[in-house]
């Protein structure tokens, strides 16, 4: 199929326009974090570093950052273990109910976040009679993070050579030794990529979090949401927004690079 010159130009134009629109709001937030005006005025009347200084001197903000990191770490660890087990099972075996299990893993992200959040809120409070806490957030986050690890590991396993595992067994290695010395190194970078994705997913999550967090638990997204509507807080929220983007985008850039490099 030959694509005519005019079609190429039109497609290129639409693509660059869409990309510009994708980046414009993020650039505006970045610029606004230096904006002298307190209420998002455009064009900025002047620039200041004031908001950055103030943001990093705020105790509540640093505490929220810590909470988010702890939750994201715990949730991704659980997801790493469960996601890997599931990927090994589904890639290596044929069994009854395989499709249902595949559907069960994607359900927590395929259904709207509010459904997941409400279902867990209801289960914790009404059914189990638990107090919402940080642990309930970790359980909720781990549940929807499993799929990212699962997807990454499954994709990798479908490309790995199983002869190596058979050879290892023939040479006398037990299944645990074979897993440690043969399988694990082969799926290592997929685990890192999946883990990083899970971390970022949990770190940014807000909807499920608002339904499962206890009264005293303030993650970074909850902090942003609480402060967004407070008068005079907008510029500090801009600073936090820029920081969150950097914290989640940098590891994800590497996760992406990892999964692409192996694909080659």
């Amino acid at each position: 199929m030959r694509i005519s010159r005019s079609a190429t130009i039109i497609l290129g134009f639409i693509s660059s326009l869409v990309l510009a629109v994708i980046y414009l709001p993020l650039v505006i937030v970045f610029i606004n974090s230096f904006n002298k005006s307190m209420n998002m005025e455009w064009p900025p009347p002047g620039f200041t570093l004031n908001w950055w200084v103030r943001a990093f001197g705020s105790g509540g903000l640093i505490a929220a950052l810590g909470t988010s990191v702890v939750i994201a770490l715990c949730a991704s660890l659980v997801a790493l273990v469960l996601g890997t087990l599931l990927a090994l099972a589904l890639s290596r075996y044929k069994f009854f109910g395989k499709e249902s299990i595949g559907l069960m893993v994607i359900l927590p992200i395929a259904l709207p976040g509010i459904v997941t959040g409400l279902a867990l809120n209801n289960a914790f409070r009404t059914v189990l009679g638990l107090q919402l806490s940080m642990a309930t957030v970790i359980i909720a986050h781990a549940t929807f993070c499993i799929v990212t690890v699962y997807n990454n590991v499954l994709a990798r396993l479908s490309r790995t050579n199983r002869n190596l595992e058979d050879a290892s067994a023939d040479l006398g290695a037990g299944i645990f030794t074979t897993f440690r010395l043969i399988t694990l190194p082969q799926i290592g970078s997929a685990l890192i990529a999946g883990g990083l994705l899970a971390f970022a997913l949990s770190f940014d999550e807000i909807i499920v979090t608002t339904f499962t967090a206890g009264a005293g638990v303030e993650t970074l997204p909850i902090w942003i949401l609480n402060n967004m509507f407070r008068p005079g807080k907008a510029p500090v929220v801009d600073v936090v927004a820029v920081t969150t983007v950097l914290i989640s985008v940098i590891p994800l850039y590497f996760a992406q690079k990892l999964s692409r490099d192996d694909a080659k």
């Binding site: 629109v21 067994a169 807000i206 983007v245 992406q256």
Partner: protein, 302 residues
């Protein structure tokens, strides 16, 4: 190939771990059960059980004196979904916004995905793929907040539109729809791009060698092949819009979507059974949608 690895390595001491290992080596079923046990228990107990309990709770009620959820089976909540005009109008509005957002996102995603996979050279393609991916990972909340700045009365959109005699839509349903469409666009572009990448170039050449014009090739060769990817993208955009309640708070002004009704019933109104009944609407819609597209293979493209 030896059946039992401990026979091959006779020098290895028979430790308990070794015994477990050789037992598992010879029993594929036990191996599978061991792998599946933890994740399936977790998903079934934490998630599926919670979803089922949510269905059940919708048929309970709230004790008027204590404010606690009480097991008293009734259909009141479900009936009010259909009779209360607030619920039906908000539901229709939410579905309308979700449909609009999904269709616009598909319309925008198709040309850019096509450009990326079939027009751009390998180097430009990589740059574009990363450029589309990166903002996907910027926090949802940050993006909604970014649009709050863009749409504000003194914001950049007003500044751009004013010379043209236009005004920013401000914090309204339009503002919310634009923001939601913006947020889910990368989720729609990526699966479609992935689908187009799988369309082999020589198939397109074959089509044109057989006399098909560009449009015919797009319609009869490319479109059927990428339909599952388009559906996969639409699942994201549609489902995410259907359950949203934060974006509409941030850029939607006083307007409400289904998510807001659910949220107020959990929080201020403290009526979990009503919240559960309302949540049945997005669940039913998504299950109907997932069920109807299952055969297209779209779910493998998620």
């Amino acid at each position: 190939m030896t059946k039992n690895p401990s026979v091959a390595g006779a020098a290895i001491a028979v430790t308990p771990a070794r015994r477990v290992s050789s037992y598992l080596y010879n029993h594929a079923k036990a191996r599978l059960q061991l792998l599946l046990a933890a994740p399936v228990l977790w998903l079934a107990l934490v998630y599926i059980a919670a979803l089922l309990m949510l269905l059940v709770t919708a048929f309970w009620t709230v004790d008027e004196f204590t404010g606690n959820t009480k097991v008293a089976w009734n259909l009141d909540n479900i009936v009010s979904l259909f009779t209360d005009s607030l619920y039906s109008s908000v539901t229709l509005r939410t579905i309308g916004i979700a449909l609009g957002v999904t269709l616009v996102d598909i319309a925008l995603a198709l040309p850019i995905a096509f450009f990326m996979s079939k027009v751009a050279g390998p180097k430009l393609r990589n740059i574009l793929a990363i450029s589309v991916l990166l903002p996907l990972w910027a926090s949802y909340l940050v993006k909604a907040y970014a649009w709050r700045s863009v749409l504000s009365n003194k914001g950049v959109l007003q500044w751009l539109l004013e010379p043209l005699g236009l005004n920013t839509p401000g914090y309204s349903l339009w503002g919310a729809a634009i923001t939601l469409g913006y947020m889910w666009l990368p989720y729609v572009i990526l699966p479609i791009y992935g689908g187009l990448e799988k369309v082999p170039g020589n198939m397109l050449e074959a089509s044109s060698d057989l006399g098909a014009k560009t449009f015919t090739t797009v319609r009869r060769v490319i479109f059927p092949m990428i339909l599952p990817s388009i559906i996969a993208g639409s699942i994201f955009a549609f489902s995410l819009t259907l359950g949203d309640y934060i974006t509409i708070n941030i850029v939607g002004g006083p307007n409400q979507m289904l998510g807001n009704l659910i949220y107020t019933n959990v929080g201020t109104a403290n009526n979990l059974p009503m919240a559960a009944a309302l949540a049945l609407i997005p669940i039913a819609i998504m299950f109907a949608y997932l069920g109807s597209v299952r055969r297209t293979g779209a779910l493998n493209n998620l």
